[in-house]
């Protein structure tokens, strides 16, 4: 059928199918800014304007648009002619992955057309229909308010985010004096009163020993921000190929069953269905799907397609068809006869004799005890048990339970595979681990690594969910079977049923304390529920134990853990990687101990937390899946973070005071805190490499295998290169994560990119700089190289003569001793210096309903030197928001048959713009000697402290202790009633 529309001001007649969604048609017309986030329009990634009104393109038939005017981001501005909203989004650091940016800008555009001077509440209301899993909405709101001021004709002062602007006085470390609220109004963000938001800007307290840099430490706009703000086609799906097929996955309706018969005849008979693959069609090769270093930690308990299913949503068959709709339709024509087996969902029950055996296949490798569903049994201890237990005058025990949540990146898992002109398989995939994918997929599809190329385009969020070789093998199998390009994208429901999630755990602590409050021993027994498959099951639990026990570093520490199979969808890597679970347990437990002993909570923790110079007692015993390396804390501003945060929050004025909302005695206020400790990469394991080459004009290509998920990692790495090479950031042209074109990197996980990959960039840049200096010394300036230095795009001799980088490049490439000035460097560290943080929270608890409203979150963070403060602040704000969902509302729940109940973004609630608490970030910098320019990590630590800080605040408000997540109204209400 034909439809007539006006698209971005241009009248068009289009041919569409009656069933086609408007989203698909718009993308076919080149409007790649319109994204798919979910089938229900709840993510808002598909937001467009229809006759000026914001509406979701995914839930409209294209035919409905006939006769209407449509506007997408492409109709508002372009990379060469950015709208002021786009400029402000770039300037304020509002863009992370950029996947939701076009929708956010359109929503704001519609608002500002009708309401030129909006309040912050109106801006948040306008943005409410576009879920942001990354930013915490802070900078997005700031961007819209600032753009509004420009559009009104005002001239707000230049946006000037703090750039390490508050140097530390000599006595700072030990005596803090400056707080965010001490700042003069508007001084920090440079905005006028009309563009204020309730967001307090990040404060950076810098040690005086930190070096002054030109590029590092500056809030440079993300180097990919313009193309993201313009909605250019940069993601895996923004790509067209002739004759492309579309894949769909048939999944199990049963939690545990054996496939007795599977018949694909009827599906294959449908016109347009090209291929159906079942376990009968693909090689049976066991593997572990976690995107981890070689050799992958065991067990190897998966195959691409099996004759047994182990959770609702497990793989059964995969289809390739001429259209996505046909592929979906074909699924119902695949006849499957199941022998339904008893499921088991409770990990404690799964370990009992007689429980259903989930992995009874003979070829599974390295399962600790398959007959008891025990994947791993971990036991590690350090210290003199008898002596330390003898010293303890009080022994405390506590049990804490954490639940299963989903990463919920707004861009689902998506991959496109095809044969290239050399008959090599190309995999364009939204992954955090392109090099691991290439190595891991090779045996499954029975191709050598050299015949596989993996390309990572821009990614619309990952959070660990894409640290997995999750769907690439199925798509590759289809391309191999059909010879045609195949596109495979998970549905939103499959993200919940068939992707990965955070491990649920039971944590039981036993801790001995002297009468003066000194912890002498700490034991943790943990049960980790790894669901149907063991991917990441070993390492997540080890990290959980390591983080929990190392935070207070008791002289005798013991960790015992059982990792257990159950028939729930498989957990895996999720930002924080065990630390949020472990820290929820230990922080709750230690607060309970302090209160039981009548000690001040902060002082009790201060007495016991790990300090600068301390060796981490469990570092060797608990590596990640293997023995670790000895670690000493070389830098820590934890005490300063706690003190500064406590002062900013008014901790000592509020904590322990019974406070109700005036006139509403059932509403109780509370304040809570927790400390956090994380890592910077995996010591002795993570490796990143970088190549840098000099171009004719003095610019540099920087090639890295590191994977920017939207975190700003590419920008940070470019800043490190620019600083070292002494050029502006614009002279660094970064290309990342293509297994054919860039050097190796383990990938984006474990908070490793800045510290590990950044270390590689630093080395490569130093080597290139040295090559330039040597060429100039020998062939151009004829002086000893030691007498040369650089000064912004120039090499300068002590006698004042100089040559530009461009001159050096042209000379070395074309004139004398010709060679390509370039270098490749790798970096691996035997250290993983921990970032530290103090997390504070304020809540209101409705004692009649149990509903908790979070008013304020503040995190004071020591991430070493923040290479780019504005992107670092975005990481903390977004991480706290995700952590808030973890603590408060997000939960994967199941019915009695193991069918997930929350499989859309309405039931699985993600915090929206209108309901956010006040978010504040304070950076307390240290100068980490092992990190590039003093940097440690910042990406994951914001996930660690919110849950225990909320538990602490709820206790302060009500006197009840919650030992199980999340803090739903009924759970709080039940706790309140059980104490009455």
């Amino acid at each position: 059928m034909h439809i007539e529309i006006t698209l971005n001001g241009e009248e068009k007649t289009l041919v569409v199918a009656p069933h086609e969604r408007l989203l698909r048609v718009l993308r076919r017309e080149g409007c790649y800014s319109v994204k798919f986030g979910d089938e229900h329009g709840i993510s808002g990634a598909d937001l467009i304007l229809l006759d000026g009104r914001p509406i979701n393109a995914q839930t409209l038939l294209a035919a409905q648009a006939h006769g209407h005017s449509l506007t997408t981001l492409e109709g508002i501005g372009s990379s060469k002619n950015l709208h002021i909203l786009q400029k402000c989004f770039i300037e304020t650091g509002a863009i992370q992955s950029g996947y939701q940016t076009p929708a956010q800008i359109l929503a704001a555009y519609a608002l500002l057309r009708d309401v030129p001077a909006p309040t912050e509440a109106q801006v948040r209301q306008a943005l409410d229909g576009v879920l942001d899993r990354e930013s915490g909405y802070v900078k997005v709101v700031q961007a819209v308010l600032r753009a509004a001021a420009f559009l009104r004709g005002e001239t707000p002062p230049p946006f000037a985010p703090l750039e390490r602007a508050i140097p530390a006085p000599p006595d700072l470390f030990g005596s803090f004096f400056i707080l965010p609220h001490d700042l003069p109004p508007d001084a920090a963000d440079g905005d006028g009163a009309t563009t204020r938001t309730r967001v307090v800007p990040a404060v950076i307290v810098t040690p005086q020993t930190a070096p002054r840099n030109r590029v590092v430490g500056k809030s440079e706009p993300k180097i990919d921000a313009v193309k993201l703000a313009a909605g250019k086609p940069v993601y895996a799906d923004d790509f067209e190929m002739r004759d492309m097929l579309y894949a769909a996955l048939l999944t199990s309706p049963h939690a545990h069953a054996r496939i007795k018969r599977i018949d694909k005849t009827k599906a294959l008979a449908l016109p347009g269905v090209v291929c159906v693959l079942t376990y009968e069609d693909v090689p049976r090769v066991v593997y572990a799907s976690g995107g981890q270093s070689y050799p992958n930690p065991p067990p190897y308990d998966q195959v691409s397609l099996d004759n047994k299913v182990r959770h609702v949503g497990d793989r059964v068959a995969v289809v390739a068809a001429e259209t996505p709709e046909l592929a979906q339709a074909a699924l119902r024509y695949i006849e499957v006869e199941y022998e339904v087996l008893p499921p088991v969902f409770d990990p404690e029950a799964a370990m009992q004799p007689g429980a259903p055996v989930i992995h009874d296949e003979p070829d599974a490798w390295k399962i600790h005890d398959a007959s008891r569903n025990l994947v791993h049994h971990i036991a590690a201890q350090v210290g003199d048990e008898a002596a330390r237990k003898a010293e303890a005058e009080h022994v405390f025990e506590g049990e804490y339970r954490v639940h299963q949540v989903q990463q919920t990146s707004i861009e689902p898992h998506i991959v496109i595979t095809w044969w290239d002109e050399d008959d090599r398989l190309v995999i364009r995939t939204s992954t955090q681990v392109p090099f691991h994918v290439r190595r891991m997929i090779a045996p499954l599809i029975q191709l050598p690594v050299k015949r596989i190329r993996v390309i990572k385009p821009r990614i619309g969020g990952g959070f660990g969910g894409k640290q997995e070789m999750l769907i690439e093998d199925l798509c590759a199998h289809l391309t191999i079977a059909t010879g045609r390009p195949v596109r495979f994208e998970y549905t939103r429901e499959q993200e919940f049923t068939s992707a990965r999630s955070r491990h649920p755990q039971i944590l039981r602590f036993k801790t001995g304390v002297t009468k003066t409050g000194k912890v002498t021993f700490c034991e943790l027994y943990m049960i980790g529920n790894t669901g149907a498959y063991g991917t990441h099951g070993l390492t997540v639990q080890m990290v959980a134990g390591f983080r929990a026990l190392t935070t207070y570093n008791a002289p005798f520490s013991r960790f015992v853990c059982d990792v257990v199979y159950t028939t729930i969808p498989t957990p895996g890597a999720y930002r924080g990687y065990g630390a949020p679970q472990g820290l929820f347990g230990i922080e709750n437990h230690f607060e309970e101990i302090a209160i039981a002993l009548g000690l001040d909570v902060i002082e009790f923790k201060r007495q016991n937390w790990i300090k600068q110079g301390d060796a981490m007692v469990m570092a060797v015993a608990l590596g990640e899946g293997r023995e670790g390396h000895a670690q000493i804390v070389t830098t820590s501003a934890l005490a300063e973070c706690v003190d500064l945060g406590a002062k900013a929050m008014g901790w000592y004025e509020k904590r322990g005071r019974s406070r109700s909302v005036p006139g509403r005695p059932h509403l109780k206020r509370g304040i809570g805190m927790a400390i956090c400790m994380h890592g910077s990469g995996i010591a002795g394991l993570d490796m990143g490499a970088a190549s840098i080459k000099l171009n004719d004009d003095g610019s540099f290509n920087l090639l890295v295998g590191a994977t920017d998920l939207g975190t700003g990692a590419d920008t940070v790495l470019a800043q490190i290169a620019a600083e070292t090479l002494d050029v502006p950031l614009e002279d660094i042209l970064i290309y990342a994560a293509d297994t054919d074109m860039t050097p190796f990197d383990t990938g984006a996980y474990a908070s490793s990119t800045t510290y590990v990959s950044g270390g590689a960039v630093l080395k490569a840049a130093e080597q290139v700089k040295q090559q330039m200096l040597e060429h100039a010394a020998r062939h151009m300036l004829q002086v000893p190289v030691e007498q040369l230095d650089t000064d912004v795009r120039r090499i300068v001799a002590q006698d004042g003569r100089s040559v530009t980088y461009e001159e050096v490049a042209l000379h070395s490439l074309h004139q004398v001793d010709q060679k390509q000035i370039m270098s490749t460097a790798s970096h691996m560290s035997l250290e993983s210096p921990p970032p530290f943080a103090a997390q504070f929270a304020e809540v209101i608890v409705d004692t009649e309903t149990g509903q908790v409203t979070v008013e304020r979150l503040l995190m004071a963070v020591d991430c070493g030197i923040a290479i780019n403060p504005i992107t670092a602040a975005g990481q903390v704000e977004g991480g706290m928001t995700q952590a808030l969902g973890y603590a408060h509302c997000e939960e994967m729940t199941y019915d009695a048959h193991g069918t997930p109940l929350a499989t859309d973004l309405e039931r699985y609630h993600i915090y929206r713009a209108t309901e956010m608490p006040q978010l504040e970030v304070i950076f307390v910098e240290t100068n980490e000697p092992s990190g590039p320019y003093g940097a440690k990590a910042v990406a994951e630590i914001p996930k660690d402290g919110v849950a225990p800080a909320l538990a602490s605040a709820i206790y302060d408000a009500t006197g009840v202790r919650l030992r199980q997540l999340p803090f739903t109204p009924e759970r709080v209400w039940q706790a309140l009633h059980s104490t009455r």
């Binding site: 969604r21 329009g41 009104r53 209301q125 229909g129 009649e848 509302c889 109940l901 009924e970 209400w973």
Partner: protein
Amino acid sequence: MPLPEVYQRPSTLAAALAYLQQPGTVAFSGGGLLLAGVEVPFRQVVDLQAIPELNHLTPGATTIDIGGAVTLAALVNSPALPALLRTALTRTLPVNRCSGISVGEALSASRPPAEWLVALAALGAQVAHTGFTPGEAAPPLLPVETFIAQRAQHPGPYRGIITGLHLPRLADGTGTGAAHVARTPADLPIVCAAAVRQPPGLQPRLKLALHGVSPLPVLALLLPLEGAPDAALPAVLEQVARAIQPVSDDQGSAAYRAAMAAVMVRRALAQAQSAAGGL
């Protein structure tokens, strides 16, 4: 095949009803709920957006008449409507979703927007529709809660057309109130309630509606209200306790829902009394 093969956009209600006689046909406007999902199991879809009598919002002397194809966004933006109704939409439904969902679609959905439904029931709204099956004689106007109860008797997609929603004008001095409990400020309600209290001078009565405390999406009660409000509260709560049939699910146990019903009713009633001038 679970995909529409034919799209129709009639300009009259009669034409739309004629299409509905054909097998495998569904009528809709908006699409934000009907089309939310991977499959749309109809051969033919009938888009109601071009039918004038379904696209009006007319404030009258005694009622406000709203066509079934009017979007929820239009309700949010209409100052003629009670604030109770508009705020019931904006807390959980963002503007882009409101733009894509029509009144008829929302009422006939398997999961109608709960607080809006509760507000409609408390306000005494009535639904005009063409019946639950094609060819059925149009039934009389139905109270919202009755329509929802009958809709539950016809599982699967709604096969009629909701032609209108009729909202009684509130008399001066009428008090309205609402309350909810949810995990977060913008989350779906676990339990919610709305109360509309007649002003002085009329027969004292209270219309209550609740969600989350019965197998149906909405439970409505019309109660006489005698004596001082505070004194009447225990009797109201007693009648509510008798009427509810909460069901446990992953969001809340039956016991919790029952307890919350009392809290929500008390709060909604207090708000209604306060709005009505402390009746």
